[in-house]
């Protein structure tokens, strides 16, 4: 099936209320396919409900560091105490079909032969593309190992970002606008939609993006959701209180 409009989101982190708000918005966006960039679980209180909703909506994606840690606790050894605590909770909640969904997530996805999706970096789910040096490393990796990929989507930092590399090798972060951003055919891009379930750019809304493949544009979208309900669930689940307070602050 040819895909003309694609929705991509990342880092849902078991926040059902935020994910439902994104789907409500998506219902008016006429997209052909929805994909995620990993970290479906962790931090928040509704890992099972989130996976069930993704399965119901036929959303496929890639694995994140919290997803693999939920399957193998040894991989959470390097997590901070907030994340570690939430992974212990997550492991208690998951049923067999949730585990099967997480187990089935690949490290990366290549869509339409040209769009690459991964969680952290091209080398690991744990590493970041958070600054220009890391973006340069990722662009170099793409040029050497994946010359057919010009546009890649990643998550993990919880902050929306577009890194571009022009034909002279100059790397820059593009200004993010409400209007669609045009992706030039002579440049490479690393694009992060931000986070659905735990945004960290001091904007508490759930964030995702829409790719228009015909027009070659990406549009960042942000939607309000019921933060109070998500917070109440975190406290009811006896997860660390900071995980609730940070949702309202967008950190």
């Amino acid at each position: 099936m040819t895909v003309a409009r694609l929705a991509i989101f990342s880092d849902v982190h078991a926040n059902l209320e935020a994910l439902e708000a994104v789907f409500r918005d998506l219902d008016h966006q006429h997209v052909d396919r929805v994909l995620h960039l990993g970290d479906v679980v962790g931090y928040n209180a509704s890992p099972c409900e989130v996976i069930d909703l993704l399965m119901e909506r036929n959303v496929h994606g890639v694995q994140g560091n919290h997803d693999v840690a939920a399957l193998d606790l040894d991989l959470a050894e390097g997590f901070n105490m907030l994340a570690y605590h939430a992974i212990l909770y997550t492991r208690q909640q998951l049923d067999a079909h949730h585990v099967e969904y997480l187990s089935g997530l690949p490290f990366s996805l290549l869509l339409e032969g040209q769009f690459l999706l991964f969680h952290g970096s091209l080398e690991s789910v744990n590493t970041y593309i958070a600054n220009m040096y890391q973006a340069k490393r990722a662009f170099n990796f793409m040029r050497m190992q994946l010359p057919f990929v010009r546009i890649a989507f990643f998550g993990h930092t919880h902050v929306p970002k577009v890194w571009s590399r022009n034909s002279q090798g100059k790397i820059r972060a593009l200004p993010l606008t409400k209007e669609p951003i045009i992706l030039r055919s002579d440049e490479m891009y690393l694009i992060n939609p931000g986070s659905v379930g735990q945004p960290r750019q001091k904007d508490s809304r759930a964030h995702y993006l829409i790719v228009d493949i015909d027009a070659m544009t990406v549009q960042f979208r942000s939607v309000e959701y019921n933060i109070t309900l998500a917070q109440a669930k975190i406290l009811r689940a006896k997860l660390p209180e900071f995980l609730a307070t940070r949702l309202a602050e967008g950190i």
Binding site: L110, L116, E123, N131, P240
Partner: protein, 204 residues
Amino acid sequence: MGGEETIFGTKEVTLRSGKRITIRPMIAEDEQALLEFFRELPDELLVFLRHNVRDPAVIREWVEHLSYDRVLPLLALDGSKIVADVTLHRISHGWKRHIGQVRIVVSPDYQGQGLATAMLNEVVELAAELGLEKLWAEVPLDSIAAVRAFRNAGFGCKAVIEGLVKDAEDNNMDILIMVCDIERYFDRKWLSKDVNLHHQIIRE
């Protein structure tokens, strides 16, 4: 789930000796254990601390006025015994609002086992979650173990100020200023082992 529910959760780490240690934020109920921890510390370690921590009134003041927004104290516990204390100090306003200052003290019986590095790693990770951008530490220049622990946790040596502070015998000492750039800190996690990405790509 195990462990107490605290605002920042709890975590267990394994020391080089194989011993399991719990790391969690200080809570009011830690008053007596904290006093015992500080009373057992040798004088030469106490000189690095800003307060007379053997005075019960000081500890009472701490636990009665816990404010994680201002100071986040993390404790390492071997069972119910406190064996290390690391604090993250934050300034909410002004030009240092993005900087956290880190102080650490580890019981001599638990030094040399990777505990300081584990605690400092935890602080760096939590600082990232709290939105801080840099961490600052002042370390005695001749304390090789402390410098190594901070370096292991991603801190770099930035400046030496000669003869600035005094030790227990009133001798002037040099201090080393160490800074962790939290964003760059994550660079250290780049894996060196080869990952054959082509085998991992799922084409659709």
